[in-house]
């Protein structure tokens, strides 16, 4: 695990806490799959604090009422398969709902 990934851990816990406590109290809102919080967890664990945060901010900006939404996964690491592909083929992977 890189320094960036370790540094991202507290943020990942924060998002997880949101998913466990706050999110269930509210109706489903996200226009994307995976949802913004799941995207944040994957982005932070995959790319570390800096790039993970940047990817998350950009995704949150995309998740506005004027966007069409749809399927939008965190970019795959070079040499790794695309998440959309894994999901479509029912292969277990790190992305959560």
């Amino acid at each position: 695990m890189s320094v960036g990934q370790v540094a991202a851990k507290p943020l990942v816990w924060l998002v997880r806490a949101y998913q466990l406590v706050l999110s269930p109290m509210r109706p489903a809102t996200c226009r994307y799959y995976p949802s913004c919080s799941a995207y944040a967890v994957t982005a932070l664990t995959r790319y570390g604090l800096l790039r993970g945060t940047w990817l998350t901010i950009r995704r949150l900006g995309r998740c506005n009422p004027w966007s069409p939404g749809g399927v939008d996964h965190v970019p795959a690491l070079p040499g790794h398969p695309d998440d959309a592909d894994l999901v479509a083929r029912h292969i277990p992977h790190e992305t959560t709902t």
């Binding site: 269930p24 109706p27 489903a28 226009r31 799959y33 069409p68 749809g70 959309a84 999901v87 277990p92």
Partner: protein, 334 residues
């Protein structure tokens, strides 16, 4: 980090302060006692109304999206049929992904997006900080926020609602009245959230969506929520609780309207709407399309059975004579 958040939140605090002060001025002008809890309490409710009214365009957009959802029902049902009875996480994920891809392809999306809640939360924090800071400002230990000067702050801070001060919290409450008012507000808050959630689950979800582990988890959380509110609510000043409660009432009413007028396809609320429409003798939306679709499907099925009939030579056909047409082919005439 703390300083960073302070400077980030300050403009929002200022805006919250101005909206509240503006409402307070307006209520005073129409004759309310400026030092009363009613004037300040109504100012908080006014703040909620301004914020939620600003989001009405988003609400309208969502309603339009739900109209369009009716049109993509056949495709949605195809996906649901494909994953019927499959509850393993991989299948659920694949199903969600396919559904979302369909929304994008059809240019409609039933979800409101994440940005509005992100925009709203700083206002909640802003209000929390304004109400939390009232005592400090009135005592001179904190800087005034825009129009909330030392004098205004001490007036607002000592304003009482049913005998409890707006800046009072359950924790550290000195009077029983304060405790009763905070508990009452927490109960009301929990009740409104619970009702909103329950209404959504029991009335506006198709039976197929309720029969999976996620829905069961959601249901459990629905019952745990009031406990969470009770635990966190004791730390919030009465003003914040009032804000929270008003927002909940707004959400509940809005949802009630949507469920009554534009229920989710296949839900109990849709059935009720169709029954109401039938009683009044009004056409049921989507019914004509549904009938047409069913007719087309029947036609297609008939086409298949027709093809199954072996072609006959003229001679054989003559031999079998009239009345011996295959029974299956007869069905197609219906």
């Amino acid at each position: 980090m703390g300083d960073f958040f302070n400077s980030l939140l300050y403009p929002i605090e200022l805006l919250v302060a101005w909206i509240m002060y503006g409402f307070h001025q307006a209520f005073t002008t129409i004759g309310l006692d400026p030092a009363s809890g009613l004037a300040w309490g109504l100012s908080i409710i006014g703040l909620v109304i301004v914020m939620r009214a600003a989001m009405i365009p988003l609400f309208v957009k969502q309603i339009n999206a739900s109209r369009k959802m009716q049109m993509i029902q056949p495709e949605l049902q195809k996906i649901q049929k494909k994953y019927k009875g499959k509850t393993d996480p991989e299948s659920r994920q694949a199903m969600t992904q396919e559904t979302m891809a369909l929304y994008r392809q059809e240019g409609t999306n039933p979800f409101s997006s994440c940005l509005p809640i992100l925009v709203q939360s700083p206002f909640f924090f802003g209000l929390f900080r304004v109400l939390n800071g009232l005592q400090g400002i009135s005592e001179g230990t904190k800087d005034p926020i825009g129009p909330i000067t030392k004098a205004v702050a001490s007036q607002a801070e000592s304003a009482t609602l049913f005998g409890a001060q707006l800046s009072d919290k359950f924790i550290g409450a000195e009077t029983t009245t304060t405790k009763i008012v905070t508990i009452l507000l927490i109960v009301l808050m929990s009740a409104t959230t619970f009702t909103t959630q329950r209404q959504l689950m029991t009335k506006n979800m198709p039976a197929s969506a309720l029969d999976n582990p996620f829905a069961k988890q959601q249901k459990l959380i629905m019952y745990v929520m009031p406990v969470v509110f009770a635990v966190s609510g004791v730390n919030f000043p009465i003003g914040v609780l009032l804000y929270w409660f008003t927002t909940n009432v707004w959400s509940m009413t809005q949802q009630f309207y949507v469920i009554r007028r534009m229920p989710a396809p296949g839900s109990a609320a849709e059935k009720a709407l169709h029954e109401r429409l039938a009683k009044r003798g009004k056409p049921i939306p989507g019914e004509a399309e549904r009938k047409a679709r069913e007719a087309a499907e029947a036609e297609e099925a008939a086409e298949r059975t027709r093809q199954r009939v072996q072609p006959k030579g003229k001679k054989r056909a003559k031999k079998s004579g009239p009345g011996s047409t295959p029974a299956k082919a007869k069905q197609t005439d219906n």
